[in-house]
């Protein structure tokens, strides 16, 4: 890894370490070194540097809530907005703990997309009716409840 002012440039070894950590953040330095055929001290140094410079932001646990016995539903909302208010609406959405992701996209018109979680359909509806629909600039909302997941990546792959 090279550091030029505020910018960092990762080399091939850094990327390979990150790929392994994305798959399993519990791997030890020795295990990573063994897989990549480098010394564990090299792995340690690289990871330390990436942590210090914010390339590695944090390590977290991905919980399968269904297996943990937690009842919840997830839904995808498409929110059509007054273009003048869309930034403000997206910021407000991001503040709710029920909202897991917020993004904007453009096809025929600019819309805000949000992934929402709730205990059940009644609570999902109450949240949307009481917290989202009243936001100034919300023109209409389409919501699809997720019935089955075929793939879910916990982190974004390096393409």
């Amino acid at each position: 890894m090279k550091i030029k002012g505020q910018r960092v440039a990762l080399d091939d070894l850094d990327w390979r370490i990150l790929r392994l950590l994305q798959e399993n953040a519990k791997l030890t330095y020795t295990e990573i070194g063994s897989k990549l055929d480098v010394a564990h001290s090299t792995v340690y140094d690289r990871i330390q540097l990436m942590e210090e410079h914010g390339v590695i932001k944090k390590y977290k646990v991905v919980v399968d809530l269904e297996k943990a016995g937690v009842q919840q539903i997830m839904a995808l909302m498409t929110i059509h907005t007054d273009p003048k208010e869309s930034e403000h609406i997206a910021s407000r959405l991001a503040e709710f703990s029920e909202v897991l992701e917020v993004s904007s996209s453009f096809s025929e018109e600019l819309v805000i997309n949000a992934k929402v979680v709730a205990q059940d359909q009644a609570k999902l509806h109450s949240f949307i009716a009481q917290s989202i629909a009243p936001l100034p600039g919300v023109l209409r909302i389409r919501t699809s409840i997720i019935t089955k997941k075929y793939k879910e990546e916990a982190s974004q792959p390096f393409l």
Partner: protein
Amino acid sequence: MAVSSSRILRSVLREEAFYFFTSIGNYTGQSAASLDEFLQRIKEVNIKSLEFHLYREDFEKWIDQTLGDAKLAEDIKGLRNMKVVGNALRDRLYFLVSRRLKDLKSSVETSK
């Protein structure tokens, strides 16, 4: 204690308004912040929205708990029990709300 007619006829805050949905999470973009606006929306909204809210008891709850009109809420409950759907529902609901609005407005006028 009976709620005064003028209080029932007031406009409520944006957060307390009625928001029309056609199903769970699907907001039509139409809302009503007073009984007057509510009557207008009955004419305009998708019939699916009227059916969705009537059978979830949303109209009764909003009219009773937010506007404070127990009488109209009771009338709408009666309509729900009749299991009316489609345009017949729109017509019946419009009739009930417009009749009640007329009475409330006339009560406000006579008390002046």
